[in-house]
Amino acid sequence: VVVATEVEHGTAETAEPAAGGADGEALRRVAGGDAEAFAVVVEHHQERLLRLCRRLLGDAEEARDAAQEVFLKAFRGAAGYRPRGQVHTWLYRIAVNHCLNRLRRRRVVRFLPWSGAAGGEAADAGAPPFDPPSEAPGPEDELAARRRWRQVRRAVAALPDNQRAVLVLVRWEGLSYKETAEVLGISAGAVESRLVRAMRNLGAALGPEAGP
């Protein structure tokens, strides 16, 4: 069974078969001592893990380090992988835990790209490149869109970690409640509760005019 996951910006990603597929086979080979087999896993999942880490951490450079660490953890844990679900769900779980732990270790919140704590353009250092829609009619719209996106990032950064994780997985990664629950190791009901709270917080932070 091949599962197609529709992600944002019209990119369709084809996930591996439920039993692990080529990735599962690669992990089994890694567990058997074939380290080179891990290249398949890296190649298949690097984009989505980098994107997830960036969304959770809000910093492109830190996301690269984090994603690398996530792959290394996956490599070390390959023998513990059980093909119950999809490999990407397993990797997501490692990545979310790793990123949340990184955020906790920071202690001091410094999501410059997310929160714009430093204000102004400096706050965008390391942020995902902003490429306004081509249909944007003029610089004023571009400026407004840029300002709005900065406000959104700041509001998302202010969410508690557990709410942000759910929001990122459901809203941006396109995971279902069930998949998100699997990744986070919580119930689907808890996913929904966190999402409701996150949206309520965002609604309050962004105001009634929030919108694209």
Partner: protein, 251 residues
């Protein structure tokens, strides 16, 4: 009644329903039902519109995900993987990992774990009340000893262990837990602790234990070491007893 008349806000139930709709969680029948209600209930429709504005406002600008993979990223990852493989630092298989670790080393590790936990308990280091993180690590490793210890109560967590075990760590901070990923970072995180005086002894204890695990298993963190040890804890006890008293102790 879908709107709370006192607050003019949608009820909790309706808010959930609207979010399910936005997230694509409603089945066809649920979607039809909600659309009928939206047509009939203007206040619900207004609430839905507001929620949708917030939801749509979260859309990343086009192009923001472009270039997510920096050139050479996979190559760098694989270089690290090869380094680890060559150095033999990869942890042994989680289930039943006997591997190359000699019995005396496992015994010493188990004894150190027991002493560390006991000393930690004596000095106020408390294990998780819910024990989810450690329990998850123990569950992944098939060990009951640490899981049982995790149920013992307390607030500290072992987040790094949970990462590969599959549970989201809920630690306040690895620093405050005194059990960060990597013994070498214990001192640093101890410095960040809000109560360094009371935590110094625990950090020192944790650092020693982490160093021992690093030596025994090549574990990168104390938590990894604990997870590794969980599966062989029973063997460790037996070997420790045998080493201490000889004969058939512990068998």
């Amino acid at each position: 009644m879908s709107i709370d008349r006192t607050t003019r806000e949608p009820t909790r139930r309706d808010r959930r329903e609207l979010l399910r709709w936005l997230a694509g969680e409603l089945d066809e029948a649920g979607d039809r039902r909600l659309r009928r209600r939206l047509a009939d209930e203007p206040e619900l429709a207004r609430a839905a519109a507001a929620l949708r504005r917030t939801w749509d406002g979260l859309a990343e600008p086009p192009g923001s995900a472009a270039g997510a993979v920096p050139p050479g990223f996979a190559g760098r990852v694989m270089a690290r993987v090869r380094e680890e493989a060559a150095a033999g630092r990869r942890l042994p298989a989680l289930p039943g990992f006997g591997g190359p670790v000699p019995a005396w080393a496992r015994a010493a590790g188990a004894a150190a774990l027991v002493l560390g936990l006991a000393a930690g308990a004596g000095m106020g280091v408390r294990l998780p009340r819910g024990g989810e993180d450690v329990a998850a690590a123990a569950a992944a490793a098939g060990g009951d000893g640490v899981r049982a210890a995790a149920r013992g109560g307390g607030e500290e967590r072992l987040p790094a262990a949970a990462e590969t075990a599959g549970t989201v760590g809920t630690a306040e901070a690895a620093g405050s837990a005194g059990l960060p990923a990597g013994g070498e970072r214990v001192a640093a995180s101890g410095a960040a602790d809000e109560s360094p005086d009371t935590g110094a002894a625990e950090h020192e204890e944790a650092a020693e234990l982490a160093a021992l695990y690093a030596e025994l298993y090549g574990a990168e963190s104390l938590a990894d070491g604990l997870a590794t040890d969980a599966g062989s804890l029973a063997d460790g006890y037996a070997a420790a007893l045998t080493a201490a008293f000889g004969g058939e102790a512990g068998t």
